[in-house]
């Protein structure tokens, strides 16, 4: 809101989150400290926690885990005060259970620059007055878990963690927790249950984690990239942060470009960059084969086609074009890829990862997979397309958590843009003859 319109917009390639990634041994505390690491922490500890919450509110930082909830507002929901709900211990939990197909921004962040996350955790914990922070990392990312654990150990050794951090009187312990590889545990309440040692399934809301999260205490659950952005905001200020990106989606973002491009990888850019620019940065389509479809933010976001090359990839832009920014996992597919096949593979993932708690997601994905597999194997019918859409309609908005909704996105968007490809799949196949003896069976109709 205080962003000045006359501030020169920085070059899209001025890295903030990734600026240390190329440095030698970028993950070590020595490198981090050389490159201004843990300076923001000193600034933060000199401030009042409420000032930090206000700073992050002013910066307009929005959650980078997919939903884009304003981070400062989330922090301000934590009840404070010596009595009532504010008297309970407060917790910070980092959602590092990165599992969305195509999404690969948090793991590189933790591999290349774990101390940015650790410093962000300390500042955030100080702001919300938490003395315990848990980083919940996907179990398969073993190397990453080692990196972050090592970074936490280094931070303890240097006095950035533990008792009386830098003489401020503030105490913080960080625990790095290895998940067991369930997509559902990326859902924040399932993550909390899993962290508590229970079966990872989403909790009924309300109560929300802000009042009753980990161990029924006030809890902030934030994504890795969100928290890794915090030290930069403390150092640079909210105006600087707002100089990047758009009014409602300020700041830098890591776009994970994968698929049929010449140079797949992590591209940090201010929010609102387009695929056209990203493709230029990534060296264009691989071997020059034209673009067919792409996801703006992982498989749970409705897919886009070549006509969406100039959609600004921020929260508003993606939504206005009928999709979601999600986790900015830009998966790019060229013309050699069959849309029904790709959708089938995604749906197989959702079926495999459905937690089973609610009927629509559990049974719906089980059904959708079978229809899609049948269609891809050339045994579909025209009615199957309507059935797919109707089953999706019965899942979308009916499931317990957003993961069921996400499972329908690839299917409905694929049929929206590529219905003919599904129809062609059916047309290629000879009609299955109806066995003659069926007519003799009493009551056997259709």
């Amino acid at each position: 809101m205080t962003a000045m319109s006359d501030t020169p917009r920085p070059d899209p390639l001025t890295p903030v989150l990734t600026r240390r990634w190329q440095s030698p041994r970028s993950w070590s505390i020595g490198t981090y400290e050389q490159l201004e690491g843990y300076q923001a922490l000193r600034t933060a500890l000199a401030a009042h926690p409420d000032q930090l919450i206000q700073l992050v509110k002013d910066s307009g930082l929005r959650g980078r885990g997919g939903a884009g909830f304003p981070t400062g507002m989330k922090w301000s929901f934590i009840p404070q005060g010596p009595t009532g709900p504010g008297a309970k211990p407060k917790y910070l939990v980092i959602n590092a259970d990165e599992g969305e197909p195509g999404t690969c921004k948090d793991i590189p962040t933790m591999m290349a620059d774990p101390h940015a996350l650790v410093e962000g955790c300390i500042i955030t914990s100080y702001a919300i007055r938490a003395n315990f922070c848990a980083i919940y990392i996907r179990g398969e990312a073993l190397h990453c878990i080692r990196r972050v654990r090592n970074a936490v150990d280094e931070a303890y050794a240097k006095g950035y963690l533990g008792r009386d951090i830098l003489g401020s009187g503030f105490d913080l312990d960080i625990v790095v927790h290895a998940g067991a590889g369930a997509y559902i545990c990326g859902e924040e309440t399932a993550l909390l249950d899993s962290l508590e040692g229970r079966r990872g399934q989403p909790r009924l809301k309300p109560p929300f984690p802000a009042t009753s999260g980990l161990y029924a205490s006030p809890t902030v659950v934030n994504n890795v990239e969100t928290i890794a952005s915090v030290p930069a905001i403390v150092q640079g200020g909210s105006d600087w942060f707002r100089s990047m990106g758009s009014e409602k989606s300020p700041g830098p973002k890591i776009y994970s470009v994968s698929g049929h491009v010449e140079r797949p990888g992590q591209y940090e850019a201010p929010l609102g960059i387009t695929l056209r620019t990203l493709l230029e940065l990534a060296g264009g389509m691989k071997d020059g084969i034209p673009l067919k479809f792409w996801t703006p933010g992982g498989s749970s976001t409705p897919l886009f086609t070549a006509e969406h090359l100039d959609v600004p990839l921020d929260f508003e832009g993606a939504a206005a074009a009928g999709s979601m920014l999600g986790t900015t996992a830009v998966q790019v597919f060229n013309e050699t890829v069959s849309v029904p096949w790709a959708v089938m593979k995604w749906t197989e993932f959702y079926k495999h990862e459905s937690c089973g708690k609610c009927t629509p997601c559990r049974e719906g994905t089980y059904w959708l997979v079978q229809i899609l597999e049948r269609m891809v194997h050339g045994e579909g019918t025209e009615a199957d397309i309507e059935t797919l859409l109707d089953v999706c309609d019965n899942i979308l908005g009916r499931s317990f958590c957003a993961l069921g909704d996400g499972a329908t996105s690839p299917i409905t968007s694929a049929i929206k843009y590529f219905r003919q490809e599904f129809l062609d799949l059916i047309a290629q196949q000879p009609a299955v003859a109806r066995p003659a003896q069926l007519d003799d069976l009493v009551g056997a109709q259709a």
Binding site: R198, G356, C358, T359, P360, Y366, W367, Q370
Partner: protein, 836 residues
């Protein structure tokens, strides 16, 4: 008047604590916090549901109950689960009746629920009473579009000897797992795997050994959980259902008897919010095969000159019995032992029979260890009291409860469920005066966050025998908790510890806590009020009060002074007198001599008494010795009522055809007529009517007992003090012929702490022998947190029939050795103790 009503309706204020909302165009006021689905129910709008259950916490898992909701004029973007959303002011709700979106959402969820369901309704136990079947008919599509492959599982999966799981039928509503976790508190079952492979399951080697497992079968909204006893036996539409009352313990559960062609096929928990809510225990649900046991006695039997019992006509049997009793009455007197399993009407008939026909106060229902102190306690604190003093609701609301000589889960499971509910819902402090931390104690501790899951110590330990002294010197926090609305629940086992009833009486006076007496058997409380005790006439009238005697004599049409002025003898004294030849005749109801403190002495009495009449359901140790055996009707074939521990009258009618069998009160009435006395108890209704007309005692209750606290015995080398009580599922007579239920009994162990095990030279998991000079019980050792020098045995479990084998009981000293040590070397004789 019409005008005021109209204008009042327009400006009708929302009652305090309520909100006003609109459902399907109907304006309704609902209490704050009410779930939408409940408000709909009150309006008569039934929203289909599976996971929702009013006594379980909301889950929102099945998504069947979706409705459209508008808040503050803004429609919510998604349909909402009405089982998890609470009402709010100004909310506008559209159910399937007025919202096409809600209707389609419900049909969609129903179709999804059915894609993996086997649709085997024609062979399913639940078919005909199945919420899935019914709601699929009402809210589902007429056909399915699912033409793919269904998920299959091997089935059925026995998750205990009693409960079988069909995972294909399961719709994963989690009612069973939530029941086990929330209500029973023993979550042996849980969800396994995920997605479409998600299933209910048990851990390896940990079957579903819950005393409440049968409830999961009843609340399962599909046929996924079935019982071994009922599976494939019957169709719901062939059953005739009769409401009933459970005969097993003093909880007083409502139940439903489902019968077909003269046989009880199954029993279900009845819905009785004030008593058992919607639950019962597995014993109440499954233990009814005694009705068809081969030991059932159908015809009267008379012992002939050859000493053999032979079937006889009712006329002959009653004549022989009456002649024998009349002769005995003249020779040395007749006493009456009714037993603790009688209805109020039968107990009243026994009480009246004793005074009118046998002309004695020698009548005692207590077929278990008992004491004179107990009678004083019952007269002072229990008799004549109804639920207005202490009932389940007040028990649940109490801030603190102390259980004395009472193991709630084993001895009155529904009381246990209430205590657990209170501890879980509002942090009721439940203290247990006992010996070791039983499963029930852990589950009546307040629930805590996982971060502070350290075991809550709500056990007040006492060496058996020292309970009264411990009670007199309770920790301050316990006394403070009891002061101000606390409740003390005392069990019948208090009679085994001298001074304990007196200590309870004193503690109640000291703290103002309300006392509840929870006997183990269903009939004890009613028999007390009906006057089947030596010191009290019906209605709690003291025998020693001339006015009370006169009142009864007048009501019964007896001559003045016909009722003896002195209290009669207790059951133990009666049997001792019989053994000494000081008693000539005995009328015995449902008494098992092995339940008494000294079974050998009891058997001696029964053997030596001149003339023995037995009224029984089954052949027993008493019928073996009886001169005349008169069969009586089981509850299923009669009407009657019990007084449960609250003092609440629990009436029931016959579930089966009752022709050819007679209730005790009718048999006694006819027997009395043969003896030239009239009881006027031809029918239970007649007996109940007369008992009700008598009313209660108008005089002041006597003071509580004042017996000094006893001391614990001191065990010598290779000895220990015995602690013992019964398990719910054990070798009890009424649980015969039910092997599936027996399979869920808790395994029997001899329990002691590690130091005691070391001192006694026994090893965990290895057999140890507990001995007296009468016999030995050999069981594997399990370690538990008992006091030093104390061992615990289940009182009547397979391989551990303590009174019968050892002749000893709670508080007695027993010898304990490793079982492979020869008996003679390790142990010098210990004589069987007596507890009173």
């Amino acid at each position: 008047m019409t005008l005021t009503q109209d204008s009042g309706a327009e400006a009708r204020p929302v009652p305090a604590g309520h909100v006003r909302l609109t459902i399907d165009g109907l304006e309704v006021d609902a209490p704050k916090g009410e779930l939408l689905i409940r408000t709909c129910e009150r309006l008569g709008i039934i929203v289909p549901r599976f996971c929702d259950h009013p006594l379980l916490d909301p889950a929102g898992a099945c998504r069947q109950c979706l409705v459209e909701v508008e808040m503050g004029g803004r429609p919510m973007p998604k349909p909402q689960a009405s089982c998890t959303m609470t009402v709010a002011d100004g909310m506008v709700v559209k159910t399937q009746h007025t919202s096409p979106v809600a209707d389609k959402a419900q049909q969609g969820v129903m179709e999804l629920l059915l894609i993996n369901h086997p649709l085997d309704c024609p062979i399913c136990d639940k078919g005909g009473e199945c919420p899935l079947q019914n709601q699929a008919m009402a809210h589902g599509r007429t056909d399915s579009r699912f033409v793919e492959t269904k998920r299959t599982f091997p089935k059925p999966l026995p998750i205990s000897s009693q409960v079988l799981l069909d995972r294909e039928r399961c719709v994963l509503c989690q009612r069973c797992t939530r029941f086990s976790e929330q209500i029973g508190g023993d979550p042996f079952i849980d969800l396994l795997e995920r997605g479409a492979e998600q299933q209910i399951g048990v851990a390896q080697d940990k079957p579903f050994q819950s005393y409440f497992s049968g409830n999961t079968i009843q609340i399962c909204p599909v046929g996924a959980l079935t019982s071994a006893a009922y599976r494939f036996r019957s169709r719901p539409f062939d059953l005739v259902s009769t409401p009933g009352v459970c005969e097993h313990c003093s909880s007083g559960c409502s139940q439903r008897n489902d019968t077909r062609r003269g046989t009880v096929m199954r029993r279900l928990a009845g819905n009785e919010p004030a008593v058992n809510e919607e639950w019962n225990c597995d014993k109440g649900r499954f233990a009814f095969r005694y009705l068809t046991s081969r030991q059932r006695i159908i015809r009267p039997m008379v012992r002939g000159a050859d000493g053999v019992l032979a079937e006889a006509s009712w006329t002959e049997a009653l004549r022989v019995a009456a002649e024998g009793l009349l002769a005995a009455r003249a020779a040395g007197g007749v006493a009456v032992l009714p037993g603790g399993r009688l209805t109020v009407e039968d107990a009243y008939a026994y009480a009246k029979f004793a005074r009118v026909a046998a002309q004695t106060n020698d009548v005692d229902f207590r077929a278990r260890p008992h004491s004179a102190e107990e009678l004083d306690f019952l007269a002072a604190h229990v008799v004549g009291r109804g639920p207005e003093v202490l009932d389940y609701t007040r028990l649940e609301a109490a801030p603190a409860v102390l259980c004395v000589a009472f193991e709630p889960e084993e001895e009155s499971p529904i009381v246990f469920l209430r205590l657990r509910k209170a501890a879980r819902k509002h942090g009721q402090k439940v203290f247990h005066l006992g010996q070791w931390t039983t499963p029930a104690m852990r589950r009546t501790a307040p629930e805590r966050g996982a971060a502070e899951s350290a075991a809550h110590d709500n056990l007040i330990r006492a060496v058996p025998g020292s309970e009264a002294a411990v009670l007199a010197d309770l920790p301050d926090d316990v006394v403070a908790a009891l002061t101000g609305g606390g409740v003390i629940l005392v069990g019948e086992r208090a009679a085994e510890v001298p001074g304990l009833y007196s200590a309870v009486s004193a503690l109640a006076e000291r703290t103002g806590a309300v006392v509840g007496w929870v006997p183990r058997r269903a009939g004890d409380r009613g028999a007390l009020d009906a006057g089947a005790v030596p010191n009290l006439l019906p209605g709690g009238r003291p025998v020693t009060d001339p006015a009370a005697r006169a009142e009864i004599e007048q009501a019964w049409g007896l001559a003045e002074g016909a009722i003896p002025a002195r209290p009669g003898r207790s059951a133990d004294e009666i049997l001792a007198a019989a053994a000494m030849g000081e008693l000539a005749g005995l009328v015995v109801g449902g008494v098992d001599p092995y339940d008494l403190a000294d079974p050998q002495a009891a058997l001696a009495g029964l053997r030596e008494v001149g003339f023995l009449v037995s009224l029984e359901l089954h052949t027993s140790a008493v019928t073996e010795l009886a001169d005349v055996v008169l069969p009586v009707a089981p509850d299923a074939q009669r009407a009657g009522s019990y007084l449960n521990w609250e003092g609440r009258r629990r009436e029931f009618g016959p579930a089966l055809d009752a022709s050819g069998v007679l209730p005790d009160c009718r048999v006694l009435d006819t027997l009395a007529v043969e003896m030239d006395s009239d009881l006027f108890t031809q029918t239970p209704a007649a007996a109940a009517g007369e008992f009700a007309r008598l009313g209660g005692y108008g005089g002041a209750a006597p003071p509580g007992p004042g017996v000094a606290a006893g001391e614990a015995r001191r065990p010598a080398f290779a000895q220990a003090v015995l602690a013992t009580w019964r398990q719910l599922v054990d070798e009890s007579t009424l649980a015969v012929d039910e092997p599936a239920l027996a399979g869920t009994a808790r395994p029997a162990f001899v329990r002691m702490n590690a130091a005691t095990a070391e001192r006694l030279g026994v090893t965990e998991g290895r057999p140890a022998a507990v001995r007296t000079d009468r016999g030995a019980i050999t069981l594997p050792v399990a370690l538990a947190d008992l006091p030093d020098g104390v061992v615990w045995l289940p009182a009547n479990s397979a391989g551990s029939r303590v009174r019968a084998t050892l002749g000893a009981g709670h508080g007695d000293v027993v010898g304990v050795t490793a079982a492979d040590v020869p008996a003679g070397e390790a142990l010098v004789g210990i004589s069987a103790g007596s507890t009173s």
